[in-house]
Subunit: 552 residues, 2 copies
């Protein structure tokens, strides 16, 4: 071929990439159809139980050079199948109960494809049209779920240009940042000759207010996104005040008042008080009504991080657990958690439909004043039409369907807690309030010994048990049959010592009683390994004097 | 049915939703296949040229109540087809040349489905496994494209836990915020008894530094995301210093020095100097080398916003236009723009692989110290495995394929500019440097009149022409056959007056010469409408004295 012919061939190939669909019998077509026809089957066959070290996997992803020449789609797809799909995590497996991922409803797959093919950009109406009112409707639906304003409210505000009932985000972190950003800017809005923090910045705002800093108050169970939020917003991580919790991982109101008094003494103003409706690690809910009372007493923005627990509002039986959420100024809910939408969808709702004006912005080529462009009230710019999948979930599953999912999750957690309690060799660390619980392996003989041992002995035993928990979790993860996560928590039952524990999240409707029993059995089997037995022997030695006493 | 039977039926239905695939002959299956087999055909049939007012469309999205009962997927899909797909914007149409959207390569659709079905969460290895090293590889590939470090560099850093060569984000806005956040935190890191801005906040940092504020310097063509960034970071929008540009929409270095001197006088420190590699509105590139010189002279972080223009680096012919980008401390590139990945994928790369440590964060249950979890260096938390689509694009299209796309876009823009220049009734406002240009309708008689008119006459004429541009753009958009966007720009040729102009972005490889000619023809036809003719008559009257003189 001459150079000119080659260039022509390249060009034709390029057009083909953009215009010719994948043949159904191509490798990509086959994987695609296998996934369409049977996600669970396909994933189980290709994903579960592949034991491979990360360092091994990394070898397939080490070349930093962008390939010069094009690759055939079929060839690339073989790579995807063997090196990516087969080496990914089967997050939808019913035995994957360690993180906040779950099986997806099937209809999410074809609908996602439509969303991706349409490639709308909801930052502006010009590139999204119907997706803009749809997103506004989704925000109104969630707003109503939380705040339940009367029938005159929604027709007035839902499609009102220049306003938004909330912001659709890539996830709960951006939602929390958006809430605190709006709270900060509202507290430090224009007054007198001060043009507001949005215009003049935090330093001038402090000078204007004559105060020494800004803070956010939240329990020590607050999500780590709040740490990022307070850093990025310029408040400083020291000013994220981690208030102590009670024995149920809920904020201690006395401690909250005390911490507030300390701030006041130092001349530091809270921009927000954050309540948690479903802590990430234990699934507990803060006393939202008491917090709302206190927030109104001190005149502070009240934000509720319900990224996980928000959809509990669907349940007639359990929605009372979130009582007081309707008094929050803003609420975060993640759609990719308990709304069962694919990864990358969060929301923040604001009680006051004008609240987001505190972060409003415009540009000459889009987001012009008076437009209905959603982008004028979001931290993010270009965004996909993911709210379509929330709309689909709410429509197809319905309130009652979600209620069933929520109720099942909570009841399954209670049942699993019961299992842990009844098993002689496990110890429940946090009782489930929603559908999350924590526990650890702690053999009955050791539980007895610890209950009678000295503080020093107990503390030493806990350190060794922490190692046991870490090892069991690691082995179980690596075996790939089931998965629980681990975290560390201060436990009131152990004088506030920090314990490493297993964490279980029960949101997959396909997780059965038998699967949960198998998770515990597998852990008991792992414990029989040499390394862990040695650790348990070390624990035994700590209490040997006690055993000797027993023997007498 | 008894209540119990109903509950059982509901439960079974729910399991079905999570486990039974959509039948190929269901409505959803049909749409899905239609899209699989022929995206362009399907979209053209269903989307283009549907004229419907927003207020009409909104009527289908006004109910704020979440449906109580489940809906059949088939029923819901009819709704999606008629009310959403048919009322969306055909962003992939070859005649849609107004925004930064384009046709997607076909293989992105089945691969996206796989990504969605796997539902990985790349915040942590435990829920993403191979997706973590893959994302790290993608970041390394882009890092190398920009910085081209030697062969020892990448093996050392690519998979090094605790570090990251960049951050994968939902888009360019989060990428820009991440860059400026890291820059701010590095400038104000721990020193002496000051624990750093991340810990103590901006107010204490100013007291420690004894300075009066922080700023970001960028040309007035900077993207609106920088305004959000500076607001959220606590610097205040006043401190986003919009430096004047030269006649080619590039930052004026003299003005930059002048603005910096003003800041210095006021005791305000710049946290970053931002260069633009492809301004959103005109596609121009700042003098990056000169800016890098200046940044190093004043000891300031140099960030380049190459969200749009970054992939120009693929082109051997045009990469010189971005010369100096390799001297930037950080660079933003959007994958959903000229890497042709579906909406929702941006990146920021850092020259120094330790730079992101300035925003590092941890949590007990994930992102533990020493882990390779990507989430410890991103602003966002839970994120989908979108980097897979970038990996696919780079592999399948290859460097040479992207080069072809870039070259075609730039050459098409030159050709279109030529068309505008040759047409007597259009006026080119900004010459294309990359693949973006602006122009307006300005009939030849008026161009002549304006060239000889008084300043006052010209200014009045411009105001009326602005209205013409707005109307033409609106009518063309509403007709739905083709789309150009509009913006307003200060034009040096008109003594820095702000003009409303058409903006054209040429990145869709399917856009042909004929389509572009048709865009201009359609605009000429729209101008013939009564309302616009009346406006043009008004302009004529402004110059009537001139015409009378001509007649003499």
């Amino acid at each position: 071929m001459t150079k000119k012919e080659m260039a022509q061939a390249n060009l034709e190939n390029l057009y083909r990439i953009f215009t010719v669909p994948e043949a159904p019998d191509s490798t990509l077509g086959q994987i695609d159809h296998a996934i369409t026809d049977n996600v669970t089957g396909f994933l189980q066959e290709h994903v579960v139980a592949l034991q491979r070290e990360m360092e091994e996997i990394e070898k397939d992803f080490t070349n930093p050079c962008i390939p010069e020449e094009p690759t055939f789609v079929s060839e690339y797809t073989e790579f995807v199948k063997d090196k990516l799909v087969a080496q990914s995590v089967h997050t939808a497996a019913p035995s994957f109960v360690g993180h906040m991922t779950s099986a997806l409803p099937y209809f999410m797959l074809p609908l996602s494809r439509i969303m991706i093919a349409l490639n709308q950009n909801v930052v502006k109406v010009e590139t999204s049209k119907a997706f803009t009112p749809m997103e506004r409707q989704v925000l109104a639906m969630l707003h109503r779920l939380i705040y339940n304003f009367d029938d005159n409210f929604y027709p007035e505000w839902i499609h009102k240009s220049q306003y938004a009932l909330g912001a659709f985000c890539s996830g709960g972190t951006i939602a929390n940042i958006t809430a605190l950003w709006a709270a900060r800017n509202r507290l430090l809005g224009p007054s007198g000759d001060f043009k507001g923090i949005a215009q003049e910045g935090l330093f001038r705002a402090m000078q204007h207010l004559q105060c020494n800093g800004l803070a956010v108050l939240v329990s020590r169970r607050g999500h780590y996104s709040l740490g990022k939020a307070i850093d990025v917003l310029g408040l400083g991580r020291e000013n994220l005040i981690a208030v102590d919790t009670d024995e149920n991982n809920r904020i201690d109101m006395k401690q909250l008042r005390y911490q507030y008094a300390l701030l006041k003494e130092k001349g530091i103003r809270p921009i927000a008080l954050v309540g948690i409706a479903g802590t990430t690690e234990t699934g507990n809910v803060d006393p939202l009504n008491e917090m709302a009372d206190f927030a109104s007493e001190i005149g502070c923005h009240f934000h509720v991080d319900a990224a996980w627990g928000g959809p509990t509002l669907f349940s007639e039986k359990y929605r009372h657990l979130l009582s007081g959420i309707e008094r929050a100024d803003s609420v975060t809910i993640d759609a990719h958690k308990q709304l069962y939408v694919p990864m990358g969808a969060g929301m923040v709702l604001f009680k006051d439909p004008t609240a987001l004006s505190a972060i409003e912005h415009h540009a000459a080529y889009i987001l012009r004043h008076g437009s209905k462009d959603l982008g004028s009230h979001t931290l993010e710019g270009s965004r996909p039409g993911k709210s379509m999948l929330v709309h689909a979930g709410l429509s197809i599953i319905g309130r009652k369907g979600y209620e069933l999912l929520i109720d099942m999750g909570i009841e399954k957690a209670k049942m699993f807690a019961e299992k842990v309690n009844q098993h002689p060799d496990f110890e429940l660390i946090s009782e489930p309030e929603l559908n999350i619980l924590t526990y650890r392996y702690n053999p009955s003989w050791l539980q007895l010994a610890m209950s009678q041992g000295s503080a020093e002995q107990v503390s030493k035993a806990n350190q060794l048990l922490d190692q046991v928990t870490r090892l069991v979790q690691k082995h179980q993860r690596e075996a790939g049959k089931s998965f629980v996560s681990r975290t560390s928590l201060r436990a009131k039952a152990y004088c506030d010592e920090t314990l490493t524990v297993f964490r279980v999240v029960l949101a997959n409707p396909l997780t059965t009683d038998e699967i949960l029993s198998a998770v515990l059995e597998e852990q008991c089997a792992i414990v029989q390994g040499k390394e862990i037995q040695q650790l348990l022997q070390d624990v035994k030695n700590i209490f040997s004097d006690f055993e000797q006493r027993q023997a007498c």
